[in-house]
Amino acid sequence: MPPLSFEVAGGECLAVEGASGSGKTRLLRAIADLDPVEGLVFLDGAERAEVPAPQWRRMVRYVAAEPGWWSDTPRAAFAPGLVDGGRLDRQLDHVGLTRAHLDMDIAVLSTGERSRLAFVRALQGEPKVLLLDEPTAALDPGSAALIEEQIKFQLYGGRIVLLATHDAGLSQRLSHTRLVLPKPRAVAGAGAS
């Protein structure tokens, strides 16, 4: 794959499309600095390497297609210090969940509930960029519609959204720009501002 270069403005959504194995996930992970990849990524003029990695990832949030959890219930991921209580209630409500879900056993939650919780988890701390990897792939049509609404809501709020998806309809409805990755191997460089 040739090197990539692109810009995304605040409030805009870039849809990253391509066949399986074309490097959509790798591109999003590279922008979040989760894998060592050459290339420059700018956010508000600051290059990724100039910003301490944890700080970068608090601004540039990657949400995996199959999000991981590290305790028995989702509660640990919503520590009181990090979370604005009133806002959290609204965010949960917007994706069809309640606070009770935070104390349910991860194993009991459905795939869709876990995906929606992971989406809400990613909103904590007000990131500037959301890197969403197949955010609706595991969801039933109703839940997918809720998430789609929330992505729109985030865009209205001025967030940058990069959306890796196979869903042509979702991409059409949400994205301002589309980036189609060619079939062979993955990414060398990317820029977002």
Binding site: A32, L34, P54, A64, W69, W70, A118, G125
Partner: protein
């Protein structure tokens, strides 16, 4: 001290039991006769060689010879820990951690014991330093093998969870803390169990040896308790050193999880 020295004939008598075991293996068609014979022979040759070398080192009383013997232990430890890992770090890292952590911890504990507790003259006197070092390293080695294995397998298994934490902006030490804590516990468990049951389930080897060699059981016990304290202390230090090193190697300075630094899982015996 009075003890009954054993002759080659006595050893041959003891070996009869092993021959019986080999006979049983034959009767039950276990196919273990060859392994039994080879293992027994290996043990005799290894222990014989070590005894001869130790005798030479003790007689020479040379600090260089003592250091050389200690270095040989280091190499054997590194190989033993490194080769027992199911998922090894690329390059020499597994061997480096595997050798350095037990050895450094063992050296601290042994030097402390010979200089501050036993007070041997000179402090590096091989008769005291080398057996203690060997015993302490041998146990620390087991702890380090466990902690490395626990951390590398947990990091591979729980990749999604660790990366979710990193993606939310946690540092590598925060994101790996559960894995590290469980690894350290795994590494410390055997020595803690050994201390808890010492004397109840079995009389530890060193104490048995001293009693057979004619020492007073209370004296033997005193030495054994000291050794167990040293072993537990050294294992703790070694396990923490190895655990921290493993976490640092499994992540990088950009707080990324670097499973690419591990080789694919291999089957262990």
């Amino acid at each position: 001290m009075s003890y009954v020295p054993l002759t080659p004939f006595d050893l041959a008598l003891a070996a009869i039991l092993l021959v019986v075991t080999a006979g049983l293996s034959l009767a039950f068609r276990l196919g273990l006769e060859r392994t039994i014979a080879i293992s027994a022979l290996r043990m005799c040759v290894q222990l014989g060689a070590v005894a001869l070398v130790l005798k030479l080192v003790f007689e020479s009383g040379s600090s260089l010879a003592t250091a050389a013997f200690a270095l040989m232990m280091l190499a054997a430890t590194a190989y033993e820990v490194g080769s027992r890992q199911e998922r090894r770090f690329h390059g020499a890292a597994s061997y480096l951690i595997g050798g350095a952590a037990p050895f450094v911890a063992g050296l601290i504990a042994s030097v402390f014991a010979v200089s501050a507790i036993i007070g041997s003259e000179p402090w590096w006197s091989p008769r005291y330093l080398l057996p203690i070092l060997g015993m302490v390293i041998g146990n620390a080695l087991a702890g380090v093998t466990l902690v490395l294995d626990a951390i590398t397998s947990a990091a591979s298994r729980e990749r999604a969870a660790i990366e979710a934490r990193l993606a939310l902006g946690e540092t590598r030490t925060d994101a790996m803390q559960d894995v590290l804590r469980r690894g350290l516990k795994a590494g410390m468990t055997p020595i803690l169990s050994a201390m808890a049951v010492a004397g109840l389930v079995s009389v530890p080897g060193m104490m048995t040896g001293q009693i057979l060699a004619g020492a007073d059981p209370v004296d033997a016990m005193t030495y054994q308790v000291m050794i167990l304290f040293l072993i537990a202390g050294a294992t703790g230090i070694a396990v923490v050193l190895a655990g921290l090193a493993a976490v640092m190697l499994l992540t990088d300075d950009r707080h990324r999880l670097r499973l690419d630094r591990l080789s694919a899982a291999k089957k262990t015996d």
